[in-house]
Subunit: 463 residues, 2 copies
Amino acid sequence: MDIAALKAELDGEVPLEENPRILQQKSRDFYWYSPVLKRQLDAVAADLVATPRSVDELHAALGSAWRNDVPVTVRGAGTGNYGQAMPLAGGLVIDVSALDRVIEIGEGRVVAEPGAILAKIDEATRASGQELRLSPSTYHTASIGGFVAGGSGGVGSIRWGGLRDAGNIIRLRLAALDGSIPSVVDLTGDDIAKASHAYGTTGVITEVEMPLAPAYAWVDLLATFPTLEGAVRYGETLAAADGLLLKNVAVVDASVAGYFKRHAPYLPAGEAVAIVVAAPFAVDDVARLAARAGGTVTLRSDQLDEATRARLPAAFELSWNHTTLRALRVDPAITYLQVLYPQPDICGKVLRIAEIFGDEAPTHLEFVRFDGAVGCFGLPLIRYTTEARLDEIVAIHEDNGCPIFNPHRYTLEEGGMKETDAVQLAFKRRADPKGLLNPGKMIAWDNPDFDYGKPYLFPTLAR
Amino acid sequence: MDIAALKAELDGEVPLEENPRILQQKSRDFYWYSPVLKRQLDAVAADLVATPRSVDELHAALGSAWRNDVPVTVRGAGTGNYGQAMPLAGGLVIDVSALDRVIEIGEGRVVAEPGAILAKIDEATRASGQELRLSPSTYHTASIGGFVAGGSGGVGSIRWGGLRDAGNIIRLRLAALDGSIPSVVDLTGDDIAKASHAYGTTGVITEVEMPLAPAYAWVDLLATFPTLEGAVRYGETLAAADGLLLKNVAVVDASVAGYFKRHAPYLPAGEAVAIVVAAPFAVDDVARLAARAGGTVTLRSDQLDEATRARLPAAFELSWNHTTLRALRVDPAITYLQVLYPQPDICGKVLRIAEIFGDEAPTHLEFVRFDGAVGCFGLPLIRYTTEARLDEIVAIHEDNGCPIFNPHRYTLEEGGMKETDAVQLAFKRRADPKGLLNPGKMIAWDNPDFDYGKPYLFPTLAR
Ligand SMILES: Cc1cc2nc3c(=O)[nH]c(=O)nc-3n(C[C@H](O)[C@H](O)[C@H](O)COP(=O)(O)OP(=O)(O)OC[C@H]3O[C@@H](n4cnc5c(N)ncnc54)[C@H](O)[C@@H]3O)c2cc1C
Ligand SMILES: Cc1cc2nc3c(=O)[nH]c(=O)nc-3n(C[C@H](O)[C@H](O)[C@H](O)COP(=O)(O)OP(=O)(O)OC[C@H]3O[C@@H](n4cnc5c(N)ncnc54)[C@H](O)[C@@H]3O)c2cc1C
């Protein structure tokens, strides 16, 4: 890598930054949620940060990286949790946050630049009564490109499934790292999988086209239950209710609810909680079903006075990894896992796991639609002690039929299905023949014969 | 019953009709789909028809029926298939077709009078970009009150489930037959079940409030497959695709497709067909998945010229009981059944049944969402021979784990779960203490100890 040559080529063309504090800052994401990643990745830093003001400038940076063999890691807003945006091999970080235009809004569609923040896109589409289908709970900070490249779903998944499900991304425009002038390709249909959730290892997303859903005046509800079982069964009932238009359904046990400080007045001690976001015309049914399930609706945002409503965080910010964040703020020793509780008998599996771990792994569930059925993901808090115990907790989940998507791994494979994604690998051979894009994140590229029995260690991280 | 006294009371107040031809016509629905019902109900006729021009006039008619002990059967558009709207005990038919106002349109809601035709409601709501969530394939002719009181779901059920699922009806206003001045009650939440799908036995619906969905420029697709299995698997795939906004997914085998005369140019002989209605932004994915499943997209309404599109019936009019209708027009000896193919292995069950019956029961499937999962209803055509054989066909389905909702029965119970609906029965005791509303349709009222081993026969029908 000849970073000096790259710098010389780009100087005056593309805004560059080499202040060490900024290099460090732009080389980090929310990897510190994981004590494992924190230990492994703390020293990771880019040599240079480029912040293109246009797609042309982005292309120029890619061309120069090609000529000078400089690794390139793209950065959206840097809110990923797995070190996705961290440049393990150093080199250039391309910060796309200035490429944030909403280009076009149509019926059921929006076209945007990758750096556009999700909430900003919705501000633009709301005039037409539309909004994004899916967003992470980092809605107010995350970029659409980062969500597509590094996220998986979240708020809205109770209705629309996951980000990679057919229909949830319409088109991605990709710039390759394959020459002095990057090839540009539009991906649609099956081809979207070449770049979605690829951590930017197969090209740089320069434009996205996403489907829109109708924007309603969503209502937040909290319903509390004497038992975790009551709350879980209620969550399942809502998740299965095809006629109720919902945007999010989460369930947490009493000890997790204890971390929701601002909502304390609505959360009786010792009670499990269902956190629901519903369309206005579904709210009465959501409340009625809570009562029938033995719960008490303690908060309805449509019945709060304006001042109270403005003071409280939105319900979706008690969900997904914001739940973890609220716990971490109180107790920095906490971390988390990502669990799939498969059908059938979701509730039975949840209760069995809860009983095995007790307060070591407080329960946090997110209900979604998964391949046309009710799905349930867990993001349990983990009261962390050692890496060995963490691995044990993972193994016990899997032994009990609940697969783990390990958030303490920085590679695509280990955080996912622990197998080669043949489509992405084949595409990377064309789009990034030198292997310069986000090195160390795709094991299949580095070491096709890797044995998933032990964690992967990218060479630069070996100390 | 003193029909003469009722007539005297209402004369000059409410439009009345006693021309025998009109009495017969207004006493019939599409019961003749069933050779069994045709035999049983052919002689059924009201003594008088009232066509109130306002809810007040409707109340007046009910009050008079109360005073004079006259049975009352409400009629919407008379498109039911089970003789629901047929006055088994004679008496008064109240035709609500003149009560057809759309009263109010809000965000996600519409309030209408019961006689409003579904397509007319959508015409009114479309200005706000909204439409009804669910409609029968008789969309252009059926009334909203009749749909709520006598229907179950249909177009839209692939997204929203059935009409009785929580959230799919917001409110029903009901007039009871309980005095000279009828009580009026608004039903919401769980109480809706007291009047939905009750065939008007528990009160007369005088106002409905229904949820609305966004109205898109829906696109029709036909995809043909060399085998029935290919088409069924494709239907299942679409039904499970949470990210694809679909409005209807039906599958028919090659012999059923042979009855779609106007679509013949798009239907290669011998091929099974999937009939899909999709949002514009889902169409490319629907087509792509068809190709991947080994199918050929032979029609896309968004790619037809205007003249062709105007000439062809809409895809939803190849679905639900319109499929049966098209076959009946060619071969009047055909009838049908209603089958539930339960999870798991929907496709296996469909193919087994198809193999057992061969051309005696050509396959017609409608995919829906059912309690949060993919559901599959069959409306197979039946090449009718005798009632005994029809009963045998029913029994063979049930022996193979596929319950039948028998469309050859005019009672609520026999067409449904073959058990007393305790909620409706209890409510009827208050709303219709004399048992004058649509007599003979609720077995639990007439004979609480009825043994469902044999078909029910209402006394007036015994000859
Ligand atoms: C509190 C909290 C809650 C969260 N909740 C959720 C959630 O509900 N659902 C969820 O899926 N995630 C969640 N996350 C993870 C993360 O916030 C989201 O995935 C988010 O969408 C990432 O967007 P970003 O702009 O921050 O991406 P970044 O972190 O900047 O990047 C993510 C990945 O995408 C790559 N990338 C970024 N931009 C591009 C581009 N233009 N082209 C190619 N590659 C690119 C990066 O290299 C990196 O590998 C959460 C994280 C936190 C801290
Ligand atoms: C070709 C064809 C296709 C069909 N497809 C479907 C389908 O996809 N899905 C489906 O569910 N059905 C279907 N049906 C059945 C029927 O068309 C629908 O259920 C329709 O909604 C009935 O409406 P209607 O106005 O014709 O009701 P009617 O037939 O007039 O009445 C139906 C029942 O409701 C009662 N009723 C009517 N109005 C009121 C009121 N105001 N208050 C109380 N009770 C009342 C009547 O007494 C009767 O018992 C189909 C029928 C045909 C012939």
